[in-house]
Each structure stands twice: as structure tokens, then as C-alpha cells.
Amino acid sequence: MTQDASDPRRLADSPTGVPGLDVVLGGGFLSGGVYIVQGSPGAGKTILANQICFYHASRGGRALYSTVLAESHDRLLQHLASLRFLDTRVIPESLRYVSAFRELEEQGLAGLINLLRREVLRQQVSLLVLDGWLAVSDGKPSDISLRKFVHELQVFAALQGCVVLLLTGDARRDHRPEYTMVDGLLVLDDVRHLGWRLRELEVLKFRGKSFLRGRHAFRITGEGIRVYPRLEALLPLTPESDVPTSRLSIGIERMDGVLHGGLPAASTTIVVGPSGSGKTSLALHFLSCASEAEPGLMFGFFETPRLLIANARALGLDLGGQVDAGHVELIWHSPTEQILDDIGNQLLDAITRRNVKRLAVDGLDGLVEAAGPPDRVSRFFAAISNECRARGVTMLLSAESANFVGPTVTLPIEGISAIVDNLILLRFVEARARLHRLISVLKLRGSNFDRRLREFEITDHGIEVLEALADGDIAENAPDIRIAASPANSPVRRRQNREPG
């Protein structure tokens, strides 16, 4: 049965106020619902529940935080003291802490349910937290009495319109009767990734509404918890706009000719090449065409803004002037210990803020390093790419190939060539006792292009693309190209001591 918003039986949302979590939960918990929040010690359960309580109190609601742990509330609040959401002025009027340890010890589950009912009714509480569910469920009650307790709690919560959160450190989920009964199950986890740890939240069950499935990264900072919903779970909701047919100059006249008029507007181009082959220089040329009508953004992971401006100056490009004029924005991120969705959100925010039309991402390797589980980068990038296309953004993305010289070009993630619209290859070729830089276009969305190889040089007045190579030229020494993806689990090399290009 469907329920519309005017249906009085429709359960109201009770927002958590935790940034990102309400997006995952489709608006928040449902009033009258009972939810288990599970996580090992240190996973962030207590912070999460308190943050929700303080937010609830700040909106005029009343919350009750009950514990069955032998831990004083003073100590609990001391641990929370450094978190900015803590506002002791709401205690005890709007947020009350009670210990249910004695009732549970002396009267069992019957004493506990009566205490909770009494306190909730007395204070007209609309959010109840029971911290220490493991102590309740491990107190050797029979399955029947545990089911009875949970059912009584559910009936009470439903008729009181009260959200109930049961916090447990129990890692076991199988065969626990309460897990099948409750309205939702949230799991907080702390997973190891390349030597650092990544906090993740997953909603395994949520009755009555749709939610974002899968794992979502979260951070605990001085502001409390912030959840980063997986962008690829959100972005497909963006309706696709019509694909424009116009072209954007890549900033090098001869390359525009190779591309039969430039890059297709609202397309994604990947520029692949080894370190020093000219990828960043090409991106700087692309951004040199940014204007008030076509705002540009450089979103990079390796060169800082100051270094980029210096590199551009060495190419005869006035990137600093464009930044000063507001035509280009430079955003730099360290590629280490980042949350992929945080980066993605910042990128999309920067695009929205200035209505960016020319986007250079330098480079894909930085995204891979920030990705956490390596198998999600291609899905994440596909979502970002679709979103940029829908917003009319033309993206130039650089990716480093592992091989400096040779027949194989290794892409940093599997499947990327199928996701992008256009593919430009930069390579070094050894011929006549020196290295030559070659540029070629391998793929261009919906358009013919010049398929011949060209040598190019990076000079103090920019990239100079030379005439197409002829038979018998250095190209015959250039082996056939084979494109491969790097193994999904291999760590990506960190670029160091980079030179311009």
C-alpha cells in the first residue's frame, strides 16, 4: 500500500542532523521506529547517538540517553567535551541521561522496559537511546523474553511516536532474534586500507522507505560525525540533458585541427601518458581558453596552485592572470588519506559555484589513491563523468601510464577507456639517439578525427604540435600500442620530483 504525504498514518521523518546521514537514510529515521546501531568499540556509536540527541534537542525535541553500562554519565560527557555539538544548556531539560543498570540487574527486562516507559512518558521524549544493548542481550534472557522486550519496545515507540536507537558492540548478526524484529540496522565499521584506516557506515536494513545501500565513508572531527554518501549511488538520479554538438578549443590550434574543430562540448577526455610527457601542459593549454563565458577549474592532486602558475608561465601562459580575473580556479588536494566522496562533492560544489564549463582534473591517479577499495573507482568516475556531461562541463582528465617507453600503455583503472568519450595518447619514442614526444587521438565521441601521429615539443611559448609524421619517419620505430589496465589491487605509484608536463 502506498502512502501519500497527507495520509495521517504516514510515518514522519525524524532527521538525525548528522551531515550526510539523512541523505543515506532518505530523510532520517522514522518516528516510532526501533533501530540497532552496531559497531565495535571505538567505531563511533556513542558519538553518533549523542550527536543525534543534541540535534534533536536543538530542534525542540526531547531525548533520553539511557545506559545499561557501569559507566558514569559525567565520564561520558567528559569524553564528548571536545565535540562542538555538545551544548550542556539542553541538559537536563531537553536531554536527560539515566542509568538503567540497576533496574536491569535487579528486575531484568521487565524492570528495564518499565523504567524506559516511565521516563519517556514523564518527559514526553521523542528520541530514546539505549546504550549497551549487548549487556541486555548477553544477560542470558531467553529468546522469547528478548523478543517480548523488543516487541514491547516497538509497540511503545510506535504509539509514543518515539525513535529508539539500540547501541551494541556485538559483531554477531546471525541468529539474533532482535535483528529480524527491529525496523533498521546501521553498522559502523573501521576498515584497513593501504596502511590507513577508513571509517564506513552501512545500512543493512531500513523498513518503510528507500535508503542508499552499500558502504559510505564517514569521519569523526571536532564537529562530530560527517557521512559521505557514495556519490555513484546519488548521481544517477541527475536527469541527463541533451548532448550539445558544439566544440571547445583545446588551446592548441593544430590539435583543434586534429580533433576536427576541438573537443566535443560536455565530453570527457582522458589524456594518457608517462610522467613528463606533457599531460599537465596540455591541461594548462585547455584552461588557457577559459573565459567569463566558459569558467575553468583545475582540480589537481600533485602540483600546488603556485607550482601550476609557475609551470604555466614557463609555457608562456598567463594562468595567474586568469586566476586573478576569476576565469580559472585552482583547487589542490593531497592524494593521501582522502575520502573519495568528499573529493567528489568538493569537485561538484566547485563546478556549481562558478558554473564551470572547462574542467581539468590532474590526475586520475590521485583519485585512485584516495579511493579506498580499488574496485569502486571506475563506477565513481563514471558517475562524476555523467554528472559533468549533464551539467555541460567539458572535462580533460590526465592519467599516468606506467611505462615510459614501450608498446604497452597502462591505464590506472580498469574500464576507464570505455567510460570516457575521448582518448588522447602521449608517448615517448626513442629514435635517432633522442626521445621524441608523440601525440595521437585514439577515440573522439561521435566524430571523425585525424588519426595520424604527430611529434610535439614543449617550448617556452607552449606546446608546439608538428606536422603529421609520414611513412619512414620516426614513427616506424614506434612499436604498436597496446592499452592495458593496471591490476585492480596494485598500489598506484606516487609521482615525485615532477617537472612541468
Partner: protein, 121 residues
Amino acid sequence: MHTVLVVDDEFGVPELLEFVLQEEGYRVVSATNGRQGLQRLAEDPRPGLVLLDYMMPVLNGPGMLHAMREGDYRSIPVVFMSSLDEDAVRKAAEHEFQAFLRKPFKLAELVDIVRRLLPQD
């Protein structure tokens, strides 16, 4: 002390309403179907108010209301509780009842109605 009769077959509901109304100073007796509810009406202490679920086994809410109004319990106020809408319940019930609570209702609403229909001395 006034007595309230709660007639509801849903596990946990009579227990909860008993707890809530006892906190308000009422005595509470309960039954899980209409036939059992009619038996409770005949016992002491005689209830001054009936909280009546609609759908129950053996004898449902409208059936119990019919028996009450046709028998000796015409004057006892009845509050129907149902997830159906009020018009549907009034149409099916045939007899007058004093208040309606659509499930899931708020406990505060229930307490307000009970206080109004069965004020404490």
C-alpha cells in the same frame, strides 16, 4: 479509582495501555477478544470506559459494541481503536461510540480522551 477495560488482541498493546493508564491513576483490566471483553464487563470492578480494537478473533469490536448496546452496557463510553478510517468504522459499527483513535495513535491523545470521558474524581 475508575476502571478502564482494554480489549485488543495485539501482543504488547494491552500491556502498554495498562502501564500508561495506571501511571495516570486508573485501574486497568484487559481482554484479547470481544467475548472475553463482555465477560470482563460483568465482573467487578465494573469498567467505566472501554478501549475497543476493531479487528479481533472470536468476536470483533463491532460485534462486542453491538452486544453492549443491545444488552446492559448502553451507557458505558466506548473508544474505538483501528487502523481503518473513522467513517468506515462508524458504518460497520451500527451503534454509537464516543471517540475514535486511528492507529497508530499517540499515547498523549489516548490519555486526553480517557481523561475527558472518564475524569478522575
